[in-house]
Symmetry: C2
Subunit: 409 residues, 2 copies
Amino acid sequence: MHPIAAPPFALLAETAHTNIPLAMLIVFASAKLMAELFERMGQPGLVGEILAGVLIGPSVLHWIAPSDFLTALSDLGAMFLLFRVGLEVKSSELLKLGGTATLVAVCGVIVPFLAGWGILLAWGASANESIFVGAAMVATSVGITAQVLSAKGLLQATASQIILAAAVVDDVLGLLVLAVVSGLSRGQLNIAELALTGILACGFTVVIAKWGAQAMGKVVPRVTRSLRVGEAQFAMAMCLMFALSVGAVYTGVAAIVGAFLAGLALAETTEARVRDLAHGATELLLPFFLAGIGLHVDLTVFSSPRTMLLAAVVLVAAVVSKFAGCGLGALRLGKADALRVGVGMIPRGEVGMVVAQIGLGFGIIEQSVYGVVVFMSVATTLVAPPLINFAFRGLAPAGREEKEDFRLG
Amino acid sequence: MHPIAAPPFALLAETAHTNIPLAMLIVFASAKLMAELFERMGQPGLVGEILAGVLIGPSVLHWIAPSDFLTALSDLGAMFLLFRVGLEVKSSELLKLGGTATLVAVCGVIVPFLAGWGILLAWGASANESIFVGAAMVATSVGITAQVLSAKGLLQATASQIILAAAVVDDVLGLLVLAVVSGLSRGQLNIAELALTGILACGFTVVIAKWGAQAMGKVVPRVTRSLRVGEAQFAMAMCLMFALSVGAVYTGVAAIVGAFLAGLALAETTEARVRDLAHGATELLLPFFLAGIGLHVDLTVFSSPRTMLLAAVVLVAAVVSKFAGCGLGALRLGKADALRVGVGMIPRGEVGMVVAQIGLGFGIIEQSVYGVVVFMSVATTLVAPPLINFAFRGLAPAGREEKEDFRLG
């Protein structure tokens, strides 16, 4: 209904804000194109999709800038990804691995924090800035690893389950670290509030993980029988996913943890039809999550050699410290699985960026250091997939048909 | 990662802007709940979903206000709906009905325009305001009818195909009417520009409808064979849908027409797998389109009895004039099909609102009249589904399995 002349290409970024189909086309098509290119070069497709975001974003081609709409699609994409992963996992088996997973998560928080903190102090940053960068290096973004393992049909492997469980614990720990760091930097640390936050987050996660599947086992068949609305089971699954994501946000953990817990709760009762429908929504939204990660990269901060050096050191430290910390925590599973867990926890993704953003908002970390943290977050997601492929190369997928359904990205 | 305390309920509308899962939960769950309620009362579920939007919106509960994000999801929902409808239709058969469909569309534009124009003049509105309201009564929103017919498995009926083809022609005519009206109200009417707009819009639509399916018949099998990325055919279908939607916007017609044309082009080559995946995305997004319609209702404009009277008269005129105009145009198909086509073209949906918004932006129509047009647009979508159910009650669905797949909303 709007008679608009086609704009010159440079205007794309602005029109894409108002022109939804154009924004969708640019992000989706470029992500899929890069995925195809990377698959043909024998590389993981999702690395291509992340790089597509870098390419079309403010750093290189300026076609698209991060917008509220794209960020929302990206958040939804991450939620659907983790929901689908949850559907593939039995919560009872996940809970059995709780001890090891907690050890992995704790070591994987301490070592990277110390590494980031130490490097920034050595670089001459203030105590507060160093603490914030340390905190930004803590949180694992499990989406990338989950997608790689899902595509290989390896979500049922012990190492995969440890990674998933550890990532959930890691999210709770990350929440606490952020709360402590924010408090410290403002010179006020409310221990009671901190304890309450921790208890709420742990309580929510453990209760849903432990009794969610049982409750859904009773609720789903009954509700499905009595509902008259079309695709009732899918509608119910979506409502549960959104509701638990909301619950997660209000208890302090990330929305994707809620979506993962919803998947877990429905894993044993959900029909193939619902999986297919959820899969369709995921296929639509996932490129927005992956390209969305790349979209945040801003290469202009690397104008000085000093910043470039810092970025390189931080990246290496981020990879090595997470690998060493988590691998150490998983050593009781044997060397091969410790290696797998170590590389699986490397990606930082969007979580590190959020911490850095808060630090930036407080005026505690400067723009160039923020750029370094964003670079580290994105670069770890690019480095991890080939390493995961290498570490998991010996394992056979759980079921061949499962694999066909999930060879994505 | 954000330790936020749960807000009091009145704050929901504001937090829902930033809290994506909360906005998703409120809209999706309330839409599905109302759909279930309406199905149980023997009413069409999608009427419940539209009313859910009215209920949670600024008119009644104030839980959610229309936002950019929700509008974008609503647009996407309409695109996926029309894409899926296009997948069910053979373009060759649609083109055969072109003559009748054009007659239906033309009559369905002239009669409502005259009705709206006359009523507003009689009400004492200015000439320009009357013309704008006439123009806002012109455009049929085919989404609602398509959804009802799709749910009943009746998309292959002659009347359904006439409705779909007429709605496309109607969109082109609506574009021209809007261009003329906008020009007239500013005292400048560029005939050459107008002709170009018309030719571009017609050309785009006819070319894709006529040769799209043929081209895809050659391209899809070849591309599917050579692509390595996962779910390649789905990715291709999405790219085509977004690309044709962009093309539609740039040639002047609505994005949903482009999505419909993409569906048409792929109707004969698309695998069941791709339909299932697209269906999943549609199921997720459709409630946002339906509730999104209701979300725009603002009942506060009906403070004066005079405005309420105008609203009632305009609504009756909108229903009767479209029914009479389109029914008349379809009379050569026999009385029964003319009746079906007449009721199928009644819903105005979002298109009338867009015209009214432009009039509001130009300062040509006043706030209360804008409210009346919005009310008319929403109310026609609520009135139509029971009438469509009644008019189509004698017809048997084309295929039972098809119906099972599409008993929605």
